[in-house]
């Protein structure tokens, strides 16, 4: 109770909770869930983009994509590290992902079907992720907030690269422009679903009180839509929503009805790639078991040899 008051005071003052600080169990649990989901998303997110590395159409783009996917793995690593400060192990978290118990961002259950998807993921998916994540750079849990500072910086870079890829394609052949439009048509609604259900349908109100979630889903989504419409115009693509138009009164863009059935179907495991994504992660893990075991066995041998030499 005394601790709780102190905890609340620190949060209200906009201070950071650190790993060694006392925190309510529910706060800890919420953070573990959110940070690990975020970490899993980075790891699973390597798959749809990784799908195009071997077919990248130029060496420059191959290098950029490799570096990007590598960054995502890196984000996964330091997010797992942030989660570990809360007293869970990476193996536990991995196990939860592989068994399907833990969630990851549903967006990665959509397939990457043409090269422009790589650009659109950078532009729209990373763009939406950044909108979601910038407030987290000031969230109440210090290790998470600091991880997000780094993540956001790199994601912004990725977003610009994605947009640049699309600009290049839009300057190209008719076929290239068609690819971009096709990719935008497929990714637009999934991207704006990334902000989650409408505020009226949303749970997790504790997150707001605890200073983990500082801006509402709908506000973030609106901000994203407003920013993106102009970028789409510059690019010269149309967004696949006939109801998308400027609302002078609101000072924002209105947009059409989101198919939340689809959203929940994908969250529930029935998206186009849920099964393949988890299978790919499980295969990587199972195929790699002998490698991890060898590393442990070798480390033990070395330790034993040192003991004997001592």
């Amino acid at each position: 109770p005394e601790y709780l008051a102190e905890f609340n005071a620190k949060i209200d003052a906009g201070g950071f909770i650190e790993a060694k600080d006392w925190m309510p169990e529910a706060y800890r649990k919420t953070l573990v869930r959110q940070i690990s989901q975020h970490a899993h998303s980075e790891i699973v997110g390597m798959l749809p983009e990784g799908n195009w590395i071997t077919r990248a159409p130029s060496l420059k783009r191959k290098a950029i994509l490799l570096a990007k996917v590598q960054d995502e793995g890196g984000h996964g690593l330091y997010l797992y590290a942030a989660a570990e400060t809360l007293g869970v192990s990476r193996d536990e978290l991995t196990e939860a992902l592989l068994s399907g118990k833990a969630k990851y961002s549903s967006i990665f259950n959509y397939p990457t079907l043409n090269w422009a998807d790589i650009g659109v993921i950078g532009w729209l998916v990373d763009g939406a992720a950044i909108m979601n994540q910038i407030p987290l750079c000031k969230c109440s849990y210090g290790p998470y907030a600091r991880a997000m500072v780094r993540v956001c910086k790199e994601e912004s870079f990725h977003q610009r690269q994605g947009y640049d890829l699309l600009l290049q394609m839009m300057k190209g052949t008719e076929e290239q422009r068609e690819m971009v439009q096709d990719a935008v048509d497929r990714w637009w609604f999934p991207s704006i679903m990334m902000f989650g259900p409408h505020d009226k349908d949303s749970v997790h109100t504790d997150s707001a009180r605890w200073g983990i979630k500082r801006i509402s889903n709908d506000d973030l989504r609106q901000k994203f839509v407003d920013a993106t419409v102009k970028q789409a115009e510059v690019l010269g693509v149309s967004l696949p929503d006939p109801e998308l138009k400027w609302n002078e009164a609101r000072g924002h863009y209105d947009f059409g009805v989101i198919d939340w059935d689809e959203f929940w179907n994908v969250v529930g495991g029935h998206g186009q790639c849920n099964v393949d994504r988890l299978a790919a992660r499980n295969k990587a893990w199972d195929d790699g078991a002998w490698v991890r075991e060898a590393a442990i066995a070798h480390a033990e041998k070395m330790a034993e040899r040192e003991r004997q030499a001592a």
């Binding site: 790891i43 390597m46 798959l47 990784g50 590395i53 071997t54 077919r55 990248a56 159409p57 130029s58 060496l59 420059k60 783009r61 191959k62 290098a63 490799l66 570096a67 996917v69 590598q70 793995g73 890196g74 996964g76 690593l77 797992y80 090269w115 890829l165 290049q168 394609m169 300057k171 190209g172 052949t173 076929e175 290239q176 790919a280 295969k283 990587a284 893990w285 195929d287 790699g288 078991a289 002998w290 490698v291 991890r292 075991e293 060898a294 590393a295 066995a297 070798h298 480390a299 041998k301």
Partner: protein
């Protein structure tokens, strides 16, 4: 400088081929390593393999650009990388064989990065100053690849019974292909005579001195040399190469002339 410039302008076929061979080794091994992305045994290795792939793709870009310049027919790095027929690729066969598993991937990285260190060291003083600059940059990368893979060779060889068996199988598979690295040929002779770079055969003893102790520490047995020959660096590849190219070249073949 003047001498080098002249040399660059009237580059010999052997000079071009020698640089292309280096570029293709980087390109094809980079392609193979990039297949791992998202599928490695632990995330740390996902990052390490992607990092090595990235280094190699970077080297390929510099080397193939340079080869294209030496050739003087206006082919840029992408035309070199994606628009040649199989017979015109000059990578050694070992680069193109499938990854198979983390063991084979690791042993190959180890075998080749040791060779690279020796080669880049020599090439750092090449009379081809552009190549010398690439060598200086690449040497650092090769050292990292070597250290990283050597540690894993030891862990896997001297790990569990399973890991020992798999890694020994990887070494047994790859070792015969290493003979190709050192096989004498007119290209190497000409290039060596011109002070552009070493004949690769000259590096064999030093290379063995680098790799054999690590295998010993890893409790792995290096197979005896056999009459097996492979010919990738002469343009005669394995059946694996065509499949790799079908994937790698697909976009460029399908959308000729497009800029990306």
């Amino acid at each position: 400088m003047t001498q080098t410039s002249v040399q660059t302008v009237v580059a010999s076929a052997e000079h071009i081929e020698y640089v292309m061979r280096l570029g293709d080794n980087a390109l094809i091994l980079g392609q193979r390593l990039s297949e791992w992305c998202g599928h490695a045994p632990v995330i740390e290795e996902d990052l390490a393999l992607a990092n090595m792939a990235l280094d190699l793709v970077g080297q390929a870009r510099l080397l193939l650009t340079h080869a294209g310049n030496l050739e003087g027919k206006g082919r840029d790095e992408d035309q070199m990388a994606f628009l040649r027929v199989e017979r015109d690729y000059r990578n050694v066969t070992m680069m193109e064989v499938p990854n198979e598993d983390f063991g084979r991937t690791t042993v190959r990285n180890f075998l080749y990065s040791a060779f690279q260190i020796l080669l880049w060291q020599k090439l750092a003083t090449s009379s081809d100053t552009e190549l010398a600059a690439i060598a200086a940059k690449s040497l650092k990368e090769a050292r990292y690849h070597f250290n990283h893979s050597a540690e894993w060779v030891i862990r896997l060889g001297d790990g569990t019974e399973v890991s020992h068996t798999k890694t020994q199988a990887a070494l047994d598979y790859l070792w015969p292909y290493t003979a190709e690295l050192f096989a004498a040929n007119p290209t190497d002779e000409a290039v060596s005579a011109a002070g552009i770079g070493p004949a690769w055969g000259e590096l064999e003893a030093d290379w063995e001195a680098m790799v054999l102790p690590v295998f010993a520490q890893a409790t792995l047995v290096v197979p005896a040399r056999t009459p097996f020959k492979s010919f990738g660096k002469f343009g005669r590849h394995s059946e694996h190469m065509g499949h790799l190219l079908a994937t790698m070249q697909y976009m460029q073949r399908t959308y000729p002339g497009a800029q990306w």
